[in-house]
Every structure is written in C-alpha cells, then in structure tokens.
C-alpha cells in the first residue's frame, strides 16, 4: 500500500464496505463497491452517495473578494446572488485552463471556491499569487472539509427527510446553510451526474456521521455508495469535462466548449486577451466533440481520431455508457470535421473503428432547472 496517498475521512468506511480502493489524483479512493454498471444504474434510477471529500475548498472573505475573483476566474462573479453557485474556470495568461471549479457566494463578501482534488496545491499557489487579494483573505479549508454528493431522482426525498428545512426550495445551482441528519452542512443543489441531487459540505470530523445516516436512512429509496468508476461513466454520458482528461493547461476554454463560462465583457481577468485572440481568429482550430462508436469497442484517452486514414484528433475520455448502452467518447477534432453527423474513425489497437460525431449530452439531463 502506497502510504504517500492521501485519505478522506471516510477511508475506513469504504474499506469496511468492501470497496476496491485505487490511487486517484494523489488520493486513495473507492473506484467501486459492487460494480460500476450497477452503481451507475442506481444513480440514474434511485439515489447514490459519493465520497468527494478529496475535492479542494478555498474560502475568500473581505470587501475585496469580488474584485479578486473577477480577475482570477472567467465567469462573471458580479452576477452571483448570495446563495447562488456558478461553474467557472481559472486560466493561465495564455488561456490554458488551470482548473475548472464551482464558486459559491455564501455571504455578502464571502465566497467558497471548490476545485479538483489533484489540483489543490497548484490552484492554491495560483489563486494566492496570480492576483493580489487587496481587501480580501484566502483560507484553504480543503483538509477541514468533508463532501458527500447525493445524486439521483430520489435524492430530494432522502435529503429532504433528513434535513432541518424544506430542500425543495433550494433551486439548481443554489445553496443554503442547514443541518442534515443533525450535521451542520452547506446544502448545495449541484452535482456531476446529470441527475437531480445535492452536494453536502460538512466539517471533516462529521463526514462519517452524515455518510452513515444517509446510507441507513436511504434504505426506502434504495440508496447505495457509489465509487469513482460510476462517477466517471455518469459524467461522461453528460459530456461534463474531467480535468486532466478533457481539459488541462494546453486546452483553452473555447475549444473545450466552455465559452459559456467566459465573460470578457465583465472586465479584465487572467487569460482574457489570449481567449479573445482565439475568438478574433474565427474560433478555435479544434473542438471537443462527442463521438458514438459503431460497435461496443471502447475509445480511450489518447487514442487517435482519424478521417480517411489521416489523423485529425485525439480521444480525451471514453467509456461504454451504461444508460445510453453504447460506446461513447469525447475527443478534440479539427473544427472542419466537428459537425454533428461527421463520420470519423477511432484507431483502436491499430485498426480504425467507425465513429460518428453526435449531439451531447449523450443522455438527457435531469437536473432540476429553475
């Protein structure tokens, strides 16, 4: 066992539950409990609980917090109401993506930035050095915070029964302070599965109490713990980007299809000039698209995408989609070949296998909008 790997407060609970533990981004995490396909279907049909305590949480507070975040992130932070959440990006001056994140406005001058586990150290350096935080103070709350995602069509029934308030009033990408199973939590209607659900931020020391309460209290809903394997198949069916696979420091937001969280009109931010140069050049040279394979062979990260024998792109993520019952992938391809319906190939074990550019998400989203 690699002792350099970090563990979440739920590590022992996962081992006790018989989870298969694997290294992921420097953490020892459960990849599956009973099987990826079964766990995937549990989330689509009922409700599942994910330990995502490895994610990073940075708080920024003070009258200068808004201005600092406007210069650091690509989305328009001024549009955030108290209790609202937005998806956003950190970029390098050259437009490359440092990380993708969710930003919470938890009070008038107080925000919570949630970043990917594998990027915590890099992001902390970036946010504290790329922009001077005048009139605001950063705090890295990653180690002190536990995070459980409760996702699926029955998530509202489960969290609602255990919460001290009416969670049906928390809209999509909104959050509220409260208690769940007696544990003080930031209750956020967000997720990474395409299903309705919540993410519950709690003190690290309370994480196991909440985890146990959800799994025991959710028996009427058919709740189960869900590993990172199903988290990946669920997000892939929604075409949600995974940092390190689909986006990284060599990809810019426009080619990744994340132009909707880039708001140049708000004023200057790190990366704005480079991103605007791409726009002026009539858009990116390549685009992240969705592919559906003609057979069940799996297109995996790094496999070449070809057209008439010539390489035109590269697969960034791929899997067999348990809900769409097809082999699906995300890939960067030359913009000229990126139109829906384009017939392409993916080179798998030296052989070009037929693939078609399709509309995404691959599976319809059922998040609670409005």
């Amino acid at each position: 066992m690699d002792t350099s790997l970090k563990r979440t407060p739920l590590f022992s609970a996962h081992v006790k539950a018989g989870a298969r533990m694997v290294p992921f981004g420097g953490w020892e995490m459960p990849v599956q409990y009973r099987g990826i396909l079964e766990e995937h279907r549990t989330v689509r049909a009922a409700v599942g609980c994910f330990d995502v305590s490895h994610m990073g949480e940075f708080e920024i507070e003070g009258p200068g917090a808004l201005a600092t975040l406007q210069r650091l992130t690509t989305n328009d932070v001024a549009a955030l109401e108290i209790g609202q959440v937005q998806y956003s990006l950190l970029c390098r001056p050259d437009g490359g993506i440092v990380d993708d994140l969710t930003l919470y406005r938890v009070a008038q001058d107080r925000y919570l930035m949630v970043v990917n586990a594998s990027n915590i150290d890099k992001d902390w350096t970036h946010v504290t050095t790329a922009v001077a935080a005048d009139g605001a103070r950063w705090r890295n709350a990653s180690a002190a915070t536990g995070l459980i995602a409760v996702q699926g069509p029955k998530a509202e029934a489960l969290v609602g029964r255990l919460a001290d308030q009416d969670v049906t009033r928390i809209g999509y990408y909104r959050c509220a302070r409260g208690k769940v199973a007696g544990v003080p939590a930031l209750i956020s209607r967000t997720g990474y599965t395409g299903e309705d659900g919540f993410e519950l931020y709690v003190d690290a020391g309370e994480t196991e109490r909440l985890w146990t309460a959800l799994l025991e209290g959710g028996r009427p809903e058919g709740v189960a713990p869900i590993g990172l394997g199903a988290r990946d198949t669920l997000r892939l069916e929604m075409r949600y980007a995974l940092y390190g696979n689909d986006i990284d420091e060599t990809t810019n937001p426009l080619e990744a299809g994340l132009g909707w969280v880039v708001k140049p009109a708000k004023g200057d931010f790190v990366g704005r000039a480079a991103i605007e140069a791409v726009t002026r050049a009539k858009g990116p040279a390549r685009k992240l698209i969705g592919l559906e394979m003609a057979d069940r062979s799996v297109a995996r990260h790094g496999y070449p995408v070809v057209k008439d024998g010539a390489p035109i792109g590269i697969v960034t993520s791929g899997t067999f989609g348990p809900s769409v019952e097809r082999s699906i992938a995300m890939a960067y391809v030359a913009s000229a070949q990126s139109a829906i319906g384009s017939e392409l190939g993916v080179e798998i074990r030296g052989q070009a296998r037929a693939a078609r550019v399709v509309k995404t998400p691959f599976h319809p989203s059922r998040v609670k909008k409005g």
Partner: protein, 130 residues
Amino acid sequence: MSNVPADLRYTREHEWARQEGGRVRVGITAYAQEQLGDVVFVELPKVGAKVTAHQAFGVVESVKAVSDLFAPVSGEVVEVNAELGQKPETVNADPYGKGWMLVVAPSDANQWNALLTAAQYEEFVAQGGH
C-alpha cells in the same frame, strides 16, 4: 479465494481450458473477471482462425481497462461464443459456463500438459496472480 474448478486447466494470464472430446473450450477465470470489473466488450476471432498458445487471440474490455486474451493451446477456432457480442456481461455472471469464449481444435496435444492445474493456479493467484 475465487472459484477455481478442479477439472479445468489454467494459464498465467487467467484463462481456463476444458477438454471436451479432443477439443478445448476457453474462457477467463472468476478471478480475472473480478479483477476486470464489468465487462462491456469482447473481441474474438472468427471460426476458422488459427490461434497460438501464449499469444493474444482477442481482447476483453471492462469499463476501466482493456486486456488481451491469451490462447491456452494452439489450433483452429471451431466455435465462438457469439452471444458475448450482445451480452458481454455474461463473462462476469458465469465465467466458467455461458461466458465461454472459444472452442479450439488443438494442433499439439502436448500443450495441454503444460497448462496449470487448478491447485497450481490457485497458488499462483494466492501469490498475487502476475
């Protein structure tokens, strides 16, 4: 310990082989399917193809990984489990039964004796399986 039927022979790559009247039926072991997780795609040769002992004859893909399938013995493929095309999960559900992959007409009967016995395979898996 995974299920290791005593009447089969095994490879170090976790295939099983069963004698059936001079022919050899081939699949992957219970241990192999557990390690792979949910199988989503199995790529097999066509009937009439030649396979060579210790060389890859096909591929099995799970959600998380792709693995080569190795032939226990050399010979000609005389039957292929076409059902795995639509129901690859059968490999997980019934690895020694309905999850079989090939039937081979062996070209060298002596190769059978070089395969691991159930006791040897169990020991191999107990020591880490690779």
